[in-house]
């Protein structure tokens, strides 16, 4: 029996945490994720859950303590944004190589320089090579659902990797929308008990974590992480299929919106996909074959699946909410183009940067974008790679 509610993304994720009732949560406040530790602390103070909260003195320590708790055998998590994630950077790699099934609720926000509290994906994109899985939400509903599915993925014996569940700062984290919640009992049944195989507090078998492993072993460690990341694709889909049975909501590696017969497609991540969907509705009513591929799972990267879904499109725009600082585009652009190239596709692919530091991306922007793709498709315009959408004139 689902419960109809109205919640912000932060409320939805906090409610999901309450329903899962994990063992340990260290966290340090940073806008716009601050509400998550606040709400969890309130649940604990009111006796609604018995999670142990550690009010650490920095994000570096929140990830360090989460690693300690997870290695000890606890179901552990933390939440952060932006500079908080950047401050954890070193320990993100450690969490992944220690094969700890940690979940991190990331509320995406621009990285400082200049300081900016609004949404973009520079924080999580900066951590894209750290060995963490990354699943992104468009809405509060997806943020809630993604969290509930998360431990089933991280704790799976074929995976045992940490996971970032990402949602867009303020846009998703603070805007209140309708949501359907599951019954707590159903959530707990779905998530199940965590019974780790090896952990520090196992009295029968002590364990050592975090070795010095030079050239004779380091490469094999990385290979094992890679295999786990490859395994994660199937596990994510299997868990989504089970989740559909209890929720009625279907999730894949990405979402296709009018993509099947589309001639012109946009590839993007996060809340702005909703804006693009509105533009597609308008364009479709004018007979324009516009479509969207909204990436949900960015790590592991579904390269062959994306290439197959984009096969035969006339022009594809890849939208990065992150400046890659490579002088040639954003990270999503580079990876989607590589996937297309490897598949032998001759689709024209153009990389755009939008919405960084919270810059608006409107339905009009999306419509103009599709019109530009049509001009490129007709040969009226040469593709201009790495163009900013909504830049001040």
């Amino acid at each position: 029996m689902s419960i109809r509610e109205r919640m912000s993304g932060n409320e939805a994720v906090s409610y999901a945490i309450k329903q899962v009732n994990p063992d340990v949560m260290p966290a340090f406040p940073i806008t716009p994720s601050t509400e998550i530790p606040q709400m969890v602390s309130t649940y604990i103070s009111n006796g609604e859950i018995d999670t142990e909260f550690i009010p650490v003195e920095s994000e570096h320590s929140s990830m360090s303590a989460t690693i300690g708790a997870s290695a000890a055998g606890a179901r552990a998590l933390t939440a952060t944004s932006s500079c908080g994630l950047a401050f954890m950077w070193e320990t993100l790699y450690i969490a992944a190589s220690d094969r700890l099934p940690i979940v991190l609720c990331l509320v995406n926000r621009a990285l400082t320089g200049p300081i900016n509290i609004n949404c973009d994906h520079s924080d999580s994109m900066g951590a894209r090579d750290s060995g963490w899985m990354q699943i992104y939400a468009e809405t509060n509903q997806e943020a809630y659902d993604n969290f509930i599915m998360s431990y089933r993925i991280t704790e799976h014996k074929d995976v045992m990797l940490p996971l970032m569940t990402c949602m867009d700062g303020f846009i998703t984290s603070h805007a209140v929308e309708n949501i359907e919640l599951l019954e707590t009992e159903e959530v707990r049944k779905f998530v199940g008990e965590y019974n780790p195989e090896n952990y520090l507090l196992n009295a029968e078998m002590p364990m050592a974590v975090g070795p010095y492993a030079n050239s004779p072993f380091y490469m094999e460690t990385k290979m094992n992480q890679r295999i786990a990341m490859q395994n994660a694709k199937k596990v994510i889909l299997d868990v989504a299929a089970e989740f559909e049975k209890i929720s009625g909501r279907k999730y894949g590696l990405f979402e296709e919106y009018y993509l099947d017969d589309a001639e012109y497609a946009v590839v993007m991540i996060g809340s702005a996909a909703g804006t693009t969907k509105d533009a597609i509705d308008n364009l479709r009513s004018q007979g324009i074959k516009a479509g969207l591929l909204k990436i949900r799972v960015f790590r592991p990267f579904p390269d062959t699946e994306i290439a197959a879904a984009l096969k035969g499109k006339k022009v594809v725009a890849i939208l990065d909410r992150c400046e890659g600082n490579s002088a040639t585009g954003g990270p999503l652009g580079a990876e989607v183009k590589a996937a297309l190239y490897d598949s032998g596709a001759n689709t024209v692919a153009v990389n755009y940067i939008y919405g960084i530091g919270g810059r608006d991306y409107t339905v009009e922007d999306a419509e103009n974008l599709f019109n530009e793709l049509i001009d490129i498709g007709n040969g009226k315009k040469q593709p201009e790679q790495f163009k900013y959408i909504g830049l001040r004139k």
Binding site: D23, P26, I54, E57, S61, S64, P211, A213
Partner: protein
């Protein structure tokens, strides 16, 4: 409490031999002594900041520890063990584990005084039931003897080399035990190796079995960095105490207690002369530096006596 040297030394080792620390290293002597203070039935999780100890005692696929062990990074041993300790309470509360565990983490002065100070401060202020042991050898020895904030004044290190225009490190060492005492935690102590090892053993036992956060600062000489003959370690420790360079004290629930007062305080030269890192101080033209050094040792000693007299 009664200290029986033979009995204590006969307890099973919890740090196995075969690790790769140098002969004559103070670090492993500190670890073995602290771990001996664990009651035999009690289990422990040992934490460790990156440093000589970590890279020499847990080289994959071998570990020297009988107990569970976690190394995370250089600067986060405090936070890491606070996560482990909190997980223990969470799992115990939920009936998932039943054994008694103690939590002890080791860090060198680099991981403790410097890069890990914030993480340590946070863990202590939150009063996790754990012991943080700093094995203080007064420089970043693992990377090759660079100065730290624990390096004593005028020590010759690879980033404060004594030369024509320099007499080594220009600053005094940070008084970390006082900083930790100012955290108002249940137990802080400073120790080093005494002939029967009683001082460190007794303090370790108190630190481990006092509920809440405890900090031990253990002077643990490094033959490479200090430049002494490995066999001289116990003599050097004795001189550090007898010159009042490294006083033995405790701070119990905020009360300062002096554990040992030399009958005849020896001049600081007696300690400095044993180590190659202070060799340049004994050139005739540097006599005034020794005078200044003595003044600084005296000042700190008087300050400690004052704290302990209240």
């Amino acid at each position: 409490m009664a200290y029986n040297f033979k009995e204590v030394m006969s307890k099973p080792e919890r740090l196995a031999p075969g690790h790769r620390m140098c002969a004559g290293c103070g670090g492993t002597i500190a670890v073995r002594t602290v771990l001996r203070a664990l009651k035999e039935g009690d289990k422990a999780v040992i934490g460790n900041a990156t440093g000589c100890l970590e890279v020499s005692t847990f080289m994959y696929p071998y570990t020297s520890y009988e107990d569970s062990y976690i190394h995370n990074a250089f600067e986060n041993a405090g936070a890491t063990l606070s996560g482990v300790e909190t997980a223990y309470h969470a799992l115990k509360k939920r009936g998932k584990i039943s054994d008694n565990y103690k939590f002890i983490t080791f860090g060198g002065d680099g991981g403790t005084y410097d890069i890990g100070l914030q993480s340590l401060s946070g863990a202590m202020e939150r009063n996790h039931d754990m012991v943080y042991v700093c094995y203080d050898n007064g420089a970043y020895m693992n990377t090759g003897i660079q100065r730290s904030s624990a390096t004593p004044m005028y020590a010759d290190t690879t980033t404060t080399p004594a030369g024509k225009c320099s007499n080594g490190k220009m600053q005094n060492r940070k008084d970390l035990a006082s900083i930790l005492a100012a955290h108002d935690i249940p137990y802080v102590a400073q120790s080093t190796f005494t002939p029967t090892m009683k001082d460190l053993y007794v303090k370790s036992e108190k630190a481990i079995y006092t509920p809440g956060a405890a900090f031990l600062n253990v002077m643990a000489p490094c033959p490479r960095g200090w430049r002494y003959d490995a066999a001289d370690i116990m003599d050097i420790c004795k001189l550090a105490v007898e010159t009042c360079y490294w006083p033995l004290f405790e701070v119990v629930e905020g009360r300062w207690i002096l554990n040992y007062e030399p009958k005849k305080k020896l001049p600081i030269e007696d300690f400095l002369r044993t180590q190659g890192r202070f060799k340049h101080l004994f050139k005739p033209e540097n006599e005034h530096l020794l005078v200044q050094y003595q003044e600084e040792v005296d000042r700190r000693w008087e300050d400690l006596l004052f704290k302990c007299s209240r």
